[in-house]
């Protein structure tokens, strides 16, 4: 086969990496390039340097080291039996590409993953080498996210965490049976074992930093994971419960969802049709409800329909409010924060502002309107000094009043 040049390889290996949802560059320690010899800074907030027409942010150079793989996971475009073109970067090529992009302000850093070649340990060594060269040879101080290989030697994973800001291991599928069926060589116990080790490593690293300022930083942006939605039979309820369990057990920063998209030459056991993209969005919203709005996983699940699926036409918070109308209306002048957060249409910021403002004045409906995006959505669920939703929460057709209107049928909606 003819030698591929860097651009050809980049086309293949970026294409192969696009099914990883995460592109976050946030949540790490503050640092910059002053006093060093390289480039790079991280200032807490992530930066999205561009947006692709799929609506996703491009923050990191997200590539695979190679898309050759000895595994045969059915949902994956890079599986052994797939007939995609294969390519492989050398560690040096990735380092140069990262630096060239970074210096032109295209990216925040690197998100490196890989197909498994030869063995898990060999692959992991290659990933670690890229991170090492960036950090040590080039004094690169931007963001690095490494995907770790579950079966790799714990010492290699530890090294990865010392160079990277964030490490992740994908749980791949929400159910164990789904994993058995679609990723026969992967094992849920091994994946979870690796996540547990990482969690302990991060905790130890934090403890050490408390005692000695010079202790090395260990994955300062924590660990995350991803699962594919719509490739197996798990419903939204299962997924929400699984995600919350993962958050609890492994102290994850994020659980990413990736709506299964039809991949070229898929395996025969997969559905050909993609799940609606909206489903992914609703799952993220439910994720937010648990992380920022004080919802218990059980409560989110109770907002789902009888089939365990979250409604696609309205967001899960509104669905919950419509189901549990006895919790409303909420008095914005008196209710505690937890209760205000349950009101559909009131976000965390709006609630914070309401709490701040009501120390100075009796909140009127106009005030609420100024602090929120859509007063129509909020109105039925609150009382203010000049507003009372008479019987509104008892109306059978309330859902139609607060559901956002369809503007135009979306050609590309699933």
């Amino acid at each position: 086969m003819a030698q591929l040049d860097t651009r050809e390889k980049l086309a293949i290996l970026a294409d192969a990496a696009k099914y990883d949802a995460s592109c976050a560059s946030s949540g790490t320690v503050k640092r910059d390039s002053r006093g060093g010899k390289g480039v790079g800074s991280t200032e807490g907030m992530g930066i999205c340097h561009a947006y692709a027409p799929d609506g996703r942010c491009i923050s990191l150079l997200k590539i695979l080291l190679t898309n050759s793989c000895i595994f045969d996971c059915h949902y994956c475009i890079n599986r052994k039996s797939s007939n995609v073109r294969r390519a492989r970067f050398t560690a040096q090529e990735v380092v140069h590409l990262t630096l060239a992009f970074y210096k032109r302000n295209y990216i925040e850093g690197l998100f490196l993953s890989s197909g498994i070649i030869r063995s898990s340990n060999y692959t992991m060594e290659q990933l670690v080498e890229v991170a090492r060269a960036l950090r040590e040879d080039h004094d690169f101080r931007g963001y690095i996210h490494l995907k770790t290989i579950p079966d790799a030697d714990p010492e290699l994973v530890r090294q990865a965490a010392l160079y990277a800001d964030r490490v992740s291991i994908n749980v791949e599928l929400p159910t164990v049976s789904g994993l058995e069926r679609l990723a026969p060589e992967k094992s849920a116990t091994r994946i979870e074992g690796a996540m547990k080790d990482m969690k302990l490593g991060i905790e130890d690293g934090k403890d050490a930093r408390k005692k000695y300022r010079s202790a090395p930083k260990f994955a300062p942006a924590g660990q995350s994971t991803q699962m594919i939605v719509g490739a197996d039979a798990a419903n939204d309820g299962d997924i929400v419960m699984r995600a919350s369990q993962l958050y609890d057990r492994f102290a994850l920063r994020r659980v990413y969802y990736s709506a299964f998209s039809p991949i070229p030459s898929p395996s025969a056991v997969l559905p050909l049709k993609r799940p609606p993209l909206m489903r992914e969005h609703r799952l993220y919203q439910s994720d937010w409800l648990m992380r920022f709005y004080g919802f218990k996983p059980r409560e989110v699940v109770s907002a789902a329909g009888d089939d365990g699926m979250l409604p696609l036409d309205i967001d899960p918070k509104l669905a919950w409010a419509l189901k549990f109308r006895d919790s409303f209306p909420v008095d914005v002048n008196k209710a505690p924060r937890e209760q205000l957060l349950r009101v559909p249409g009131l976000g965390t910021k709006a609630v914070k502002r309401l709490l701040q403002s009501r120390r100075w004045r009796a909140i009127t409906l106009d005030d609420v309107a100024r602090l929120t995006v859509s007063i129509a959505k909020v109105r039925p669920f609150i009382t203010t000094s000049d507003w009372r939703p008479t019987l509104l929460t008892d109306r059978a057709d309330l859902k139609t009043l607060v559901t956002p209107r369809e503007t135009q049928l979306d050609l590309f909606a699933g």
Partner: protein
């Protein structure tokens, strides 16, 4: 556009003895603070001050600089206001100086005035600050450097057009990030340069002064096009975060039109290719076998209908996965249920004999059932076969479909009405449909004939012989058809 409430706030009161303040630059916070402090201490109302920027357009009623008013008692403002004012000063709205001053006066009488987020003035200022912060954030994101060589080595130059007066404010970000690079950012209002040691300023520039290309941009565009997933198109989400006004200075955005046009076609082709290509090209057997084994293992835990509760085990299909013919029976019987294999009981023996007569090698065919668990009623010690109902057929159809998806047989034979129902999804009369094949949803042919157990149940010897001959004749025709399809 100013809110009427703000205008009232700013313009009320007599315009007597108007004060004129000239600031050094658009983002001259220190100048504003010094002037505003003196005016506020003297209690000058907002309406009596005309703010202007040196070199900017002069107020229509602008007069000469006026003497500062006699000082009054000083007062302190909260830290949060200083931060807010530093940010709002960078906003493009010429009213910002006056609005900030109005807020300052408000704070003089009420130190906590800033906490009342529902107050229209606070809301307006917070809104302006938000715009400035967003503009700054977009500057961090969308500045694109191009590399040029000069006497001292490589230098990185960018052309950027911010909405607000943020360049000086944001210089620090680039300084921290690219401390060891030499770089310049050119904007229409101001240029800033970093030489690795010092930050210097220059007058505004034009686009023509910036370099017009960089070879790495082609690589970056390759990345941009490749990371885009054509199976999901969300233009609104893209333009919300990357408004079109920024596009002209970002090399990768030139690709967006083509990517969108190609996306639909690419996805449609992807689905088409995966159905057609995989149907004709043999797939590596390793994967196929593993998939089938995984499917069988999964089926062993099936609880899709009630039948799994009483049956001994699931009876999954068996045979080569590249079989030319798939036979689908009704459901396992007593002996199949115990053995875990299809067609091993009395009906199975009859089936084997008929296949042999028709010249079909059973070991070359894939044999399975429409319903995979034994359904029966217990009579004494005997388990009497009972016909599966529609819901059970429907529940189990999922497995049959998966089996056929793996094998993709050109020819499927439905043995009996239950199998025909499972394969076609409707009720068929065997006598009417056994002569010609039907086409299934995946394009394969479906032949329908009787179930061997039907022959066992016929009481009349003569009729049984006739029906058996017909069954064998059906099988012969099927064999010939399979051979024709394979050729």
């Amino acid at each position: 556009m100013a809110d009427p409430a703000d205008i009232a706030m700013l313009r009320d009161g007599p315009m007597i003895g108007a004060h004129h303040v000239t600031l050094a630059s658009e983002d001259d916070f220190d100048g504003w603070r010094d002037a505003a402090r003196g005016l506020a201490e003297a209690g000058v109302p907002p309406s009596a001050i005309a703010w202007q920027v040196d070199g900017g357009e002069r107020d229509l009623f602008g007069g000469p600089e006026t003497e500062p008013p006699p000082p009054g008692p000083s007062f302190a403002v909260p830290r949060a206001f200083v931060d807010l004012a530093r940010t709002v000063i960078c906003h493009r709205d010429p009213e910002r100086f006056a609005l900030l001053y109005a807020m300052l006066l408000k704070l003089r009488s009420n130190k906590q005035a800033l906490e009342d987020r529902a107050d229209p003035l606070v809301d307006r200022l917070e809104g302006m600050a938000k715009e400035v912060r967003r503009d700054a954030h977009k500057m961090h994101a969308f500045v694109r450097f191009r590399e040029v060589e000069d006497d001292e080595g490589p230098r990185f130059v960018a052309w950027f057009e911010p909405d607000n007066h943020i360049v000086r404010r944001e210089a620090g970000f680039f300084q921290r990030r690219f401390a060891n690079m030499r770089w310049s950012i050119l904007t229409p209002e101001l240029t800033i340069h970093w030489d690795g040691q010092n930050l210097t300023e220059g007058p505004g520039a034009t686009r023509a002064e910036a370099p017009d290309g960089d070879p790495v941009e082609e690589t970056w565009k390759t990345y941009y096009a490749s990371i885009f997933n054509p199976a999901r198109v969300k233009v609104k989400a893209m333009t919300k975060e990357m408004p079109k006004k920024y596009w002209r200075n970002m090399p990768e955005t030139a690709l967006i039109g083509d990517l969108l046009a190609g996306a639909q076609a690419r996805e449609a082709e992807m689905i088409k290719r995966s159905t057609t290509v995989t149907a004709t090209t043999p797939r590596p057997t390793g994967n196929l076998d593993a998939s089938w084994a995984a499917l069988k293992a999964e089926a062993a835990r099936c609880t899709r209908c009630e039948l799994h509760q009483c049956a001994t085990q699931i009876v999954f299909g068996e045979g080569p996965l590249d079989a030319a013919i798939v036979f689908v029976g009704e459901q396992p019987g007593d002996q199949e249920d115990l053995a875990g294999r299809p067609f091993v009981g009395p009906a199975g023996q009859l089936f084997n004999a008929a296949l042999e007569e028709a010249g079909i090698d059973r070991t070359q065919a894939y044999v399975t059932n429409a319903v995979k668990h034994f359904k029966f009623v217990q009579r004494g010690k005997k388990r009497i076969h009972s016909k599966p109902d529609t819901s059970e057929i429907e529940a189990c159809r999922w497995w049959v479909d998966r089996e056929r998806e793996l094998i993709r047989p050109p020819l499927t034979v439905a043995l009996g009405a239950t199998a025909a129902r499972s394969l076609t999804g409707k009720t068929v009369t065997i006598s009417k449909s056994r002569d010609a094949p039907l086409t299934l949803a995946d394009g394969g042919e479906c032949w329908i004939t009787v179930h061997p157990s039907f022959l066992l149940r016929l009481p009349d010897e003569q009729v049984r012989r006739e029906e058996r001959a017909k069954f064998v004749a059906d099988l012969q025709r099927i064999r010939k058809r399979a051979e024709a399809l394979a050729a």
